[in-house]
């Protein structure tokens, strides 16, 4: 049994003839500390799957177990607590609150945690420092660049040290160079022991992940099991061409 286990997850939207099946019987096992990329065309169900992995979207059927806890058997409040404790979200559109400074945005997950004011600020500054933005803590989101906003979003996701980070197209709105920086940041976070699950539709940054899961029409077509074992950075970069070749081959199928 893995740290994160999805068992026959199904998500359908709508009813009757208009029913659309976004995710169709996904089985998935992710170990603690993995860096997983979920890839697929738009409409393949990857975002729906990610929202289910984040405890935000109740599946139509199937079970989702994290660390032995059946997340969707919990009450709404318990599931909120699960998200607070266990999951950090990084959204494609950053989703920073425009009326809060960067430090305040990062502190947001701590707003509902009993903790001293100074401790909260210190935690936020620390998280901002980890993404290299401690000097801009008191700016507003519209005063910084898109790449910086995404870094703030990552700082916000890690501020309360969750074991899992879920990132939805973290590079979607960024240029190549900035996108690479964000991926490096996620890789660093992952090396610190946090399980990172990322959704992306581009192959460009997929190699930063240690495992690729391909999704098509709501089904897992490749679980990337052979890439699961932990590797050193050097070995991983050496293997990269082979993995990409394999992806290309799969893509044609």
């Amino acid at each position: 049994m893995s740290y994160i286990d999805a068992e026959k997850l199904v998500k359908q939207y709508g009813t009757g003839e208009a029913t659309i099946t976004a995710v169709e019987g996904v089985n998935l096992g992710i170990d603690a500390g993995e860096f997983v990329a979920i890839m697929g065309e738009s409409g393949s169900g990857k975002s729906t799957l990610l929202s289910m992995l984040g405890g935000l979207n109740s599946p139509t059927s199937g079970r989702f177990i994290v660390d032995g806890v059946d997340v969707y058997a919990l009450t709404s409040d318990e599931r909120a607590d699960f998200r607070r404790r266990s999951v950090g979200f990084v959204f494609q559109n950053f989703h920073l609150l425009p009326y809060l400074t960067l430090a305040e945005n990062v502190m947001l997950p701590l707003a509902i945690v009993k903790m001293g004011k100074k401790q909260k600020l210190a935690a936020a500054i620390d998280a901002l420092a980890r993404v290299g933005l401690s000097d801009k803590a008191h700016r507003l989101p519209n005063q910084i660049s898109g790449g910086e906003q995404e870094r703030v979003a990552i700082a916000r996701a890690i501020v309360n040290h969750p074991p899992i980070i879920l990132a939805d197209e973290p590079t979607g709105n960024l240029d190549t160079h900035t996108g690479a920086e964000i991926m490096k940041l996620l890789a660093t976070v992952n090396r610190e022991g946090i399980t990172v699950i990322m959704v992306t539709h581009s192959t460009e940054y997929a190699h930063y992940a240690r495992r690729l899961i391909r999704l098509s029409d709501g089904r897992v077509v490749d679980e990337g099991a052979e890439l699961r074992r932990p590797e050193s950075r050097r070995r991983r970069s050496a293997r990269r061409p082979r993995r990409q070749k394999r992806l290309t081959k799969k893509g044609r199928l």
Binding site: D77, V87, L97, Y99, L108, A111, D168
Partner: protein
């Protein structure tokens, strides 16, 4: 960073919506405060005016005879033969339950005398009480200060030909005219007024009085109740309330009061609707934000608290501002509703201020309850869409 910080930052940096809610409640609270203090001020003004009406309770001796006067035409001399009240009994009026509401008790002795060949009615009164009982009196000359001073009604003075400074002797008592009463249009114009003791002496009615006028001051104080109380202590008197004027005036105010409460309720209702609509808009606008909160692990109750706290803070400000706006508006409008200068003044009322403050918060929160529940019930995944 707490929920409160989120709310305050949001209010500070997104003022437009907050101002809408604020204005909605402010107008409501200001209208209510304004109308209530206007009614209160009008009542105060009316109280003052009631004092100006003079006597509103009349005590006459009990008589088995029916009055033979109509429209000022007297068809018989029975009024002169009536029984009298003993002056000593008047002290009892001071002992009634509502004695505090009695502003003045004016005993009066009446009797006919002859002055310069003219038959005229002499009224012995208490000139001090007369100032309260007959505030409309205007005297050319002076009010008598000594026992031999008299004031003459305008018609009487014209007929007899007396003027201030003149001396007359009536039944051996020397009287000196100190003033002439300006025309009042009432029976007073044909009378000659002397101090009570002097009149009793002239008329040979020592210790007795013909009728008593009582001025009871109050708004809504129980005049019929006071009539009963006086009747109880003065069984020999027939106590009557001169109620019509008071009642009519009070009814007018009472109608205005009901009307203003109706208007207040309506304005408050519209204010609440404005809050509701604005908060609904705010929740819709913040859908994604609420999704982010929920994704981060905020419970439904946290979202509920954020929205209600926001409404509560704005409503509290609206309550305070509304109270002062209402008070200011009343000060501006009051002269249009009352003629009294100063008597209808509105002043700071801590109780009403606190009531306005609390009512505003309660209404603000009540009107935001539905939008807040809507926000709390948002499906976080729907809210985020992007995810």
């Amino acid at each position: 960073m707490t929920l409160k910080n989120i709310v305050i930052s949001n209010l500070r940096r997104r003022k437009a919506r907050a101002i809408f809610v604020l204005v909605g409640l402010l107008i409501g609270v200001a209208t209510v405060v304004g109308l209530i203090s206007l009614v209160q001020a009008m009542k105060n003004d009316m109280n003052h005016k009631l004092e100006m009406y003079g006597a509103n309770i009349l005590i006459v001796p009990k008589t088995e005879n029916l009055s033979l006067t109509y429209g000022g035409m007297s068809l018989g001399g029975i009024s002169f033969d009536m029984q009298e009240i003993r002056q000593a009994e008047l002290e009892k009026i001071k002992g009634i339950k509502n004695a505090a509401n009695v502003a003045a008790v004016g005993p009066m002795v009446l009797g006919p005398i002859t002055v310069g060949g003219h038959r005229i009615m002499l009224a012995g009164i208490d000139f001090t009480a007369a100032q309260i009982l007959r505030p409309w009196w205007s005297v050319k000359g002076k009010m008598p200060t000594r026992e031999d001073g008299v004031v003459i009604g305008s018609d009487a003075s014209r007929v007899i030909g007396l003027k201030p400074g003149d001396k007359v002797i009536v039944r051996g008592v020397k009287l000196s005219v100190t003033g002439i009463l300006e025309a009042t249009g009432s029976q007073d114009d044909g009378l000659i007024f002397a101090p009570l003791a002097a009149a009793q002496l002239i008329l040979g009615k020592q210790g007795r009085i013909s009728l008593v006028e009582v001025a009871a001051l109050c708004t809504g104080c129980p005049i019929p109740e006071m009539v009963k109380q006086i009747t109880a202590v003065l069984p020999s008197g027939n106590v009557m309330a001169i109620q019509q004027v008071v009642k009519g005036r009070m009814e007018t105010i009472s109608h205005f009061q009901k009307f203003s409460y109706g208007v207040s309720a309506l304005v408050l209702f519209v204010g609440c609707l404005m809050v509701l609509v604005t908060m609904m808009g705010s929740v819709r606008e913040r859908t994604v934000e609420i999704g982010i909160f929920r994704a981060m692990g905020f419970r439904k109750s946290h979202v509920l608290r954020i929205i209600l706290l926001e409404a509560g803070i704005v409503a509290a400000v609206a309550g305070i501002a509304g109270y002062f706006t209402g008070l200011g508006a009343t000060r501006l409008l009051l002269p249009l509703f009352t003629q009294g200068q100063g008597h209808g003044a509105v002043s700071l009322d801590p109780v009403m201020g606190a009531a306005a403050f609390l009512a505003s918060i309660m209404l603000g929160i009540a009107a935001s309850l539905y939008p807040a529940l809507m926000a709390a019930r948002l499906d976080p995944n729907e809210a985020l869409r992007a995810l």
